[in-house]
Symmetry: C2
């Protein structure tokens, strides 16, 4: 029982106690906040785990939208950003809005990537980095990030005026925890603070690294800008735009250039206005720079939050614990991004564009349908990473031709030979897992032949589902071809050494495009031998053919696929000649880039090329065989993708169903003219047949 | 200022306030604890996040050792346990001690796995499930887990007497959070409570699922035993052994058998002794059974902790959110277990056996050494998962032969043909990533030929490092061969259909083992054609040879490797004949299982077989060529692993260094006799040469 009669005293005491308690909590927080500046500045968080109960503020409300800004330019940074985003998505439980400041290359890549990734509760906005250049290009800068690093300075004026808070990240960041915990640190800001930063974990700003080392001014060790919590509203209000420019101009009177881009300027501004900064716990930006002191941080904390690869050596940085950190990075590098398509329970959010229709279509499929796997594969939206490696678009030339093909990991060995045979531009779609994409990257880096070619564009289509989506892959490669003409090839063919030049000359001479709507046929041959001396000319090829060292393509298994090319006539031909479409014809052709797309319903193997040639014929393309052109198929073991299905009767049944549907669509598009194709479509497909 | 003169009143009031505060906290906890029994029993945790500040107890001290017990039997459960352990290790920050109750198969697999995994701060103890069988075999049980499920009941008497607490897990559990948070829930136990459980998330125990459905007795919906917190000390003290047996016997008077194994008995005991149980928050065992009500739990909580695949359909269970959960599971299924070899910062722990010497040896390597990659690869300890798929050891037969070979993903297509050619036991080492191991599993399941064979043992060696560890792979396959003889083959060879029978007959006739120390030579041929009709007899083979459709192996590139087999003599031979070792000889041979191991220093390509044959000769094996034996090499594209290195001069230089070291070792072992091999070892290796 409460003692009666002293209610006032008790009330006052209780109030006092509460105030004391509150005061203690606040005091403790300020201690922590300031830990990076007082005492040992690099010490880890004092508790085992900052999420221990104590003065940690609660996480943001369940469905609060968190904003993240990243500056990204070029092919390599785009790959880095994707790894960063994967790590962020893995741990996140909140909807996210990514604000990406990109150059044209990165925008192209990332727009396609996010569009096809279809991650629920992730919104992406793009901002044109080229437009921001004038705002920072006057600053001389020696840092490897170039102008782009400096763009973090202009985010308050670039991001939407209504956006009050944002987390700004460098591309070389890896999350090891939920970003909502980082967002929660905004709650620590005093009324005046506008920039949350982790202290720099090296002695750089102390200016004692070498003789005459003269860094930009900073408070103590200064701060690292790889992870920034920005109160945009307050910065705008405080006149940030003028503030940082004034400071930068001032310092540049005596300093020749920034060494660490935006970070030098942020530190100089903070030195002048220390009230702006809220120091963050060191675990939120564990810096693995060349001379890092980060060990003082992470050896105390068992709970790492964010890893920052801020050495120019990146993962190759020397550090006795680098293996530990690398394992986090490699986790997300190889992580199957498809697995991040999971939604957030109980957070209503706008589904990604197209996701709802897709969900409905998938829901309507019948799992008992023997062709269920086909239907499901057809509906699968594959994540697409175009120009995975650095790429120079070919100069605009009116008769130029891009070789278009698709492959999976088991045909990687073909690439070097292909590069030797085709000196022109190529657009190749690769069907890979995230882990295989990294193997592919190392493969190209290790090959002088491949590494030297900037005109080969590699587009990674991420694997999902049991059937090889051959025509979807072809369409990705075709859509990314940048020349007026395309040579639609397959990866196991090597073209004549002269083919690239010869095709361009032929296109010009035949007056394609303006006068004639034609598909140029490149006659196809095959060798059954592994070791094989590739013919340098048509004469040499004919000699090999006569000697039985070469055959016309699929001569033994399925001659109908190429018979209409009329090899006998080709032997003698001196000029291009026209041939007629016949059922099952599937030649390798050169067509304008805007030719019909491949029908994506044909997944797995069978009928995928035949249908395309049929559609060219329906569109009244003339088939013109080139007398000096040839391409040769090399032998290979059947791919794993094909061997699963060749022998299955279900597979054949499903293929027939696809063909029927294809014909219905043909009829819809081309009317009575499509009747011509009906007999061809009604023949049963046999495993030996064409593709 | 404190008002003076009323210190007593103030003191009393403060004390009271503190007591009230404490009381409130405790009360709130009990509410939570009981939530699963009162009100809506399946409701999620009331807060957004149980780690929000509130009455959540702190995590265990930084380096506290956590104990986990799992019952595991057979090949398939062993694979499941590994996925569970990967998910646990991914999030854990504490040292762990795993107590594994296993049958002989699982012990064999898991002992090798953990030994080679070398995860710091993980200790593993094994307990013999076969010895526990008599304790539970009297209980009639209809559950698919069989006797093994029931063994959880006897853990208090099986685990070491000094072990007071343990978390018990089913094999079909996936962690999505740090197990230390689960361990922390022990702190909620009242003095009497001994078993922490999550409520069962289905209506099973309500007994209304179908007419005459009569489940075992339970409190309300009962509890699920996929995740158990056990206070072993208290259970022992409370006479658990008698308690559960008494209850089970009692119930079995009227019930014919358990339906859900141990879970029925746990529930019946708890019904009688409700004071034993501490209900746990539902997120710690989200049950995806066939008729699960788990949505009520997870739709509230954004923070899932543990997923339980407790439907017999496992990942194929029908559930509208199954994709979400499957993504967690697939994350760890495909996760590179090597990345979990990271240590715990600041927790001193006994390094795994051999880890320290390994660390020292690695630290002594010189990164500038051009052969650094070779040295590093040689020292790499690969994780090994023996008998990855169900396997029946061959019956003990004195002349039986196991085919031994190794492969990576790009040779998977060879397996079916190999099975058709070799009807006997095989021991195959597969060099795969974790993700590839799953593709391999699906490949075997989809192949009737492979799925039908129980005598083929597949041993997965997990990829790590840039060079193919060919001899380490061969040694794994060789060590797991269970017959007295082995045929040391390569994966791109198909043996004569009769070879298996012929070898056994020859071994018997030649009286190998007891009388003669011999290596039986199987002459090797090659075809350069893909499509090729395999000869049914020596006569047919000779005809193909004469027709130029077959060659002796490496006839064009490196005839020396097999010339000593003396093919001319073989054509005519009617009986086995002896041949002499000559430099570069590398025949395919049949030898006793206890033959010398391959030298693991030869990684990548080159010299790996030649060195082994040299060692057989040094050990005075007689080379006996079999007149009716043959094996044929099929053509294939060069593997990615080889194409990286064939052309590199560094590679050749390093290989020479390896050969020098190999010869030093030979001299050490065999003394002056090894001088014979010096010239062979001093010849430079050329890329066309043998392996």
């Amino acid at each position: 029982m409460l003692p009666r009669g002293r209610p006032r005293a008790l009330g006052a005491a209780a109030l006092l106690l509460l105030l004391l308690l509150l005061g203690f909590l606040l005091f403790d927080w300020r201690l922590r906040g300031a830990a990076a500046l007082d005492g040992d500045p690099l010490a880890g968080p004092r508790d085992r785990n900052p999420s221990d109960c104590g003065p940690q503020p609660p996480l943001p409300p369940k469905c609060e939208l968190l904003h993240v800004a990243i500056v990204c330019a070029g092919h390599n940074s785009s790959r880095d950003v994707i790894t960063l985003v994967k790590s962020m998505l893995f741990y996140r439980k909140n909807p996210l809005h990514l604000h990406l400041v990109t150059d044209a290359v990165a925008r192209n890549i990332l727009e396609m990537l996010f569009h096809t990734w279809m991650v629920p509760a992730v919104r992406v906005s793009f901002y044109n980095a080229d437009e921001l250049k004038p705002q920072v290009s006057w600053i001389p800068n020696k840092h490897y990030s170039g102008l782009y690093g400096l763009m973090k300075l202009v985010l308050p004026s670039t991001l939407p005026a209504e956006l009050a808070r944002v987390i700004v990240l460098d591309t070389d960041i890896t999350f090891a925890s939920d970003i909502a915990e980082l967002w929660a640190l905004f709650a620590h800001f005093s009324d005046m603070q506008a920039i949350g930063l982790v202290e720099n974990q090296s002695d750089w700003y102390l200016g004692n690294l070498w003789k005459n080392h003269r860094p930009w001014p900073a408070l103590g060790r200064g701060f690292n800008t790889g992870v920034i919590l920005l109160r945009l509203d307050r910065l705008r209000h405080a006149g940030w735009e003028q503030m940082w420019r004034l400071t930068a101009r001032q310092e540049l009177l005596t300093l020749p250039a920034t060494s660490l881009a935006d970070q030098d300027i942020f530190n100089a501004v903070i030195k002048e206005h220390p009230g702006l900064v809220q120091p963050l716990p060191c675990v939120w930006n564990v810096q693995l720079s060349d001379h890092t002191l980060a060990e003082r941080c992470y050896s105390e904390a068992s709970d790492l939050k964010v890893i920052h690869w801020n050495s120019p050596k990146k993962l190759r940085v020397k550090n006795k614990h680098v293996e530990f950190f690398r394992n986090f990075y490699l986790t997300f590098l190889a992580y199957d991004g498809n697995l991040l398509r999971r939604g957030l329970f109980g957070c209503p959010s706008q589904p990604p564009s197209g996701a709802e229709q897709l969900q409905q279509a998938l829901a309507q499929l019948d799992e008992e349908d023997p062709c269920f796997e086909f239907r499901q594969q057809q509906l699968t939206v594959h994540r697409v990473h175009i120009t995975f490696l650095p790429h120079e678009p070919p100069p605009s030339r009116p008769h130029d031709v891009t070789l278009v093909a698709q492959l999976s990991m088991d045909r990687l060995q073909m690439l070097e030979a292909l590069c030797r045979h085709w000196p022109g531009p190529m657009s190749l779609a690769l069907y890979l897992t995230d882990a295989e994409a990294q193997q592919f990257l190392r493969f190209v880096e290790a090959s002088p032949v491949l590494a030297a070619r900037q005109d080969v564009a590699y587009h990674v289509v991420y694997r999902e589902g049991p059937l090889y989506p051959v025509n979807q892959l072809r369409n990705v490669a075709l859509a990314q071809a940048l020349t007026p003409y395309v040579f639609l090839s397959d990866i196991d063919f090597l073209p004549a050494y002269s083919l690239y030049d010869y095709l361009r000359a032929s296109i010009e001479q035949l007056g394609l495009g303006s006068r004639r709507k034609a598909a140029l046929v490149v006659p196809a041959f095959e060798t059954l031998h592994y070791r094989f001396s590739f013919p340098r000319s048509k004469v040499e090829l004919l000699a090999l053919l006569d000697a039985g060292a070469l055959y016309t393509f699929r001569y033994h298994e399925w001659p109908r696929g190429h018979a209409p090319t009329d090899y006998a006539r080709w032997r003698e031909a001196q000029a291009p000649y026209s041939v007629q479409w016949v059922a099952d014809y599937e030649p390798y052709v050169v067509v304008p880039r805007d030719c019909p797309r491949y029908d994506p319903r044909f997944v797995g193997f069978g009928w995928n090329k035949v249908a395309h040639i049929m559609e060219l014929d329906a569109q009244e393309f003339e088939f013109l065989v080139l007398p000096e052109a040839f391409t040769i198929h090399l032998p290979h073991a059947p791919s794993l993708d094909i061997s699963h299905f060749r022998s299955s009767p279900t597979y054949r049944g499903c293929l027939q169903a696809l063909k029927d549907e294809f014909h219905q669509d043909l009829s819809r598009h081309y009317g009575a003219a499509a009747l011509k194709y009906l007999p061809a479509l009604q023949q049963p497909w046999s495993p030996a047949r064409g593709s």
